[in-house]
């Protein structure tokens, strides 16, 4: 017997979700080999309208965010506000192992498509709900997004400068965290199903997904009674400096690491006498008198380029890091040699790089593919009747 060449070969997912969290969850399932049937409303997943678009000309088949999140899926269109659409969705669910949805809690129950409505007919189905705040609790009916998850998770309060408003992390991280937790939850439910035959409801909250990334914020209160506050996004754990500084041609992350001070950093910035400077010798002094430390560091960095600083630091095993942007990510020699970006051919757009290979499996490599045109697979609906 030939072994399947993907990890989730033979698993069928029906995906009613829109936006980022649900679709990125099902994209990971698709990249792992599951057959994902994306059920879109007649006017499409709303990310088809969010762009970016080539030449800034809106076109639901050319939205960059949609293409990024929906590779390898099939697309069917159904209007679940109509009885016929709901019947068709039910028929699809009868063929599915997994259902993923991101509607406001209670909305699918109104349409008799809630977990309890379908569990009796499809007891083996893994039913994953991805919502901003989860299926119950006082905020369950509240509106949410990644920014709201940043705010309520406490992460925003500790991000940014002390004299400015709290700052959100770019790129909608609450959505991506929700996606990963929905993916892990769904996989755990598949494992449970493969052992017991039983499906279940997996209730994912993007707020709790992002909140679980609480490195030590609530812990500082629960262990010390101390309420952490944003301070240049700087850590309280003993690591100063570990932040981004300007350099001659951009930015560099300066991190001393476990072994960088005092000697290696002094060598690195070509002032070996600094080995005996108290700011180099004493971590807590440097942390507290950080402005004095920066007066030593910044002028040197301003005269050197990031690649030079990065290379020399890493040669000394001092863990400096690069500050990459979309251009330098796509040009990066390291990512190129690892073939991180996959090139896809997207109909109507042409070749595009896709951030795909988030891990490498030796036996079942991830697949990377283009996103479907709206309703391209509607004939699937006939087959499921």
């Amino acid at each position: 017997m030939d072994l399947p060449d993907t990890a989730l070969d033979g698993i069928r997912v029906v995906d009613l979700s829109q936006g980022i969290a649900g679709p990125y969850c099902t994209k990971l399932l698709a990249d792992l080999g599951a057959e994902v049937i994306k059920v879109e409303p007649p006017d499409g997943d709303y990310t088809r309208r969010l762009g970016p678009f080539p030449g800034d000309v809106p076109d639901p088949e050319k939205s960059g965010l949609f293409i990024h999140l929906n590779g390898n899926k099939k697309s069917v269109t159904l209007d679940i506000n109509e009885p016929a659409g709901r019947d068709a969705l039910r028929r699809l669910l009868g063929t599915a192992d997994v259902f993923v949805e991101s509607e406001m809690p209670g909305r699918l129950s109104e349409l008799e498509l809630g977990y309890h409505d379908v569990h009796g007919d499809f007891p083996n189905l893994v039913y994953t709900s991805v919502t901003p705040f989860g299926q119950n609790g006082p905020y369950a009916g509240y509106k949410g997004n990644s920014l709201a998850a940043m705010a309520l998770s406490g992460l925003m309060y500790v991000t940014g400068d002390p004299d400015k408003p709290p700052l959100v992390t770019g790129g909608e991280p609450g959505e991506y965290f929700g996606a990963l937790h929905a993916w892990v939850g769904t996989l755990a439910a598949i494992e449970h199903h493969d052992q017991t035959g039983a499906g279940q409801h997996v209730d994912v909250s993007c707020l709790e997904a992002l909140g679980s990334a609480d490195e030590y914020n609530t812990t500082m209160y629960a262990w010390l009674g101390a309420v952490r506050r944003r301070f240049y996004s700087r850590h309280h754990i003993p690591t100063y400096p570990s932040e981004i500084f300007p350099c001659r041609d951009g930015h560099i992350v300066v991190i001393g690491g476990a072994t960088g001070f005092p000697l290696l950093m002094a060598i690195l910035i070509e002032q070996p006498e600094l080995e005996n400077n108290p700011l180099f010798q004493n971590l807590w002094l440097r942390t507290i008198q950080w402005e004095d430390f920066e007066k030593i560091l910044r002028p040197y960095l301003a005269e050197h380029d990031w690649q030079d600083l990065l290379t020399r630091a890493q040669e000394l095993r001092v863990p400096f890091a690069a500050v990459l942007d979309p251009q330098t990510l796509l040009d990066n020699e390291h990512l190129r040699e690892r073939a991180f970006f996959a090139e896809i051919e997207q109909a109507g757009v042409g070749k595009l790089p896709i951030a795909c290979h988030i891990f490498r499996m030796s036996e079942t490599p991830l697949r990377c593919g283009p996103a479907p045109a709206l309703g391209a697979d509607n004939p699937v609906l006939e087959g499921s009747a």
């Binding site: 406490g154 925003m156 994912v204 609530t218 629960a222 309420v227 932040e243 890091a321 979309p326 790089p353």
Partner: protein, 459 residues
Amino acid sequence: MADLPLSGVRVLDLAQVYAGPTATRLLADLGADVIKVEGVTRMDITRNFVMPDNDSTDDYWNKAGYFVLRNGGKRSLTVDLGEGAGGAGVGILKKLAAECDVVVESFTPHVMAKLGMDYESLKAIRPDIIMISMSGYGQNGPWRDFAGYGMGLEPASGMSSITGYPGGDPLRTGISFTDPYSGIVGAGAVLSALVYRRRTGNGQYIDLSEQEAAIPIVGYALMNYAMNGRLPERKGNRSHWYAPQGCYRCADDDDWLIITVRDDAEWQALCAAIGRPDAAAKYPDVASRFEAHDEIDAMIEAWTESRDHMTAMHELQKGGVLAAAVLTPKEELFDEHLKERGFFDMVDTRCAGPRPVPHQLGAKFSAFEMDTARPSPKLGEHNKEILQDLLGMSDEEVAALAEQKVIGDEPVTAVPAQVMRMFVQWPLTSYMNMGALRVIEPDYREQLGITVPGHEPES
């Protein structure tokens, strides 16, 4: 409730610090038997972070808050990986690997090969083994040997290029963002491999680079560059798509609220809620709202400034507006929604008494309940039971390993113990004076309703 889905799965966990331990903590919560491997000369460094009441006396390494969060429910084995006792420690690990389904490691590349524990070697010991390497930059490529710290990997993933105030430098999140993120990715990768193994009997090797794992978060900006050659500008809390969006000052000190208006209906709702129906007509579409963003922000803040952020959030949400309070970490602990969802477990940590610990997985299952409320292990706590139950060692053999310092239950540090005890205390008063803390509340235990050994309330 059914058995947990990973009951019967045993994990040899050689990872330390944050990303790897997050992955294995999730596997433990889902029922796996996770054996966390440390050494007395290389204990997990996070056993030094966040002491209860900043107290570093006694066995402080068993009390650290940072360690408790990521290591609950695991068993601790300490083995020396050096040449001691003829390399006995590595020999033990290889024998243990034969008893395990999954091996997780976070060394820099080549360390496992040097120990004779690379995937090919482990596969020879245990043919269906699943092994995952979680490193900063992956197992090949010119940066593979770079030392990778979490604080550097968020910028290296591109995320910091889209994080920051308008016109300012790139900024990091106030946590080591890529660590928890790639930890979850690692757990999912292992689960995927377990699903495949259940069907085929085959194991495999997984190479996870923390830098790469987080790059998809930059997806929109990457596409904009690929399609239009355009680099992102940092825009604080504003949105690509929606206006207004921002973080608005509320009545109390350092008190903030976020608002996003995603369509015209939400704009009408906001204007009604803040008593400015005139603005609804004045800025009827998103283009006009982008144009007048500064004025609109001032108008919103004139309303928020007279309310505390919780009142403002509830008022706006009830009016159909997407609004959320920027909670302090303390407020998060007391939040009514998270409380009702059971997001924090009161964990009996033993050495530090009961403490609230957040869940590590933001998912709830109807068919089983994850095992989330267990304490983290003391250093070397399970040496004897692991060596005896899994490797069949006798009392004498275990005692001999302790005698030879191959195993142990107290850290051996490069600096004198009293220096370490000073180092793990944080200069909280200085942090407070710098402005890096909002407040220190000595009565926090009473507020949280916890009784800690040595701190019983006076009767």
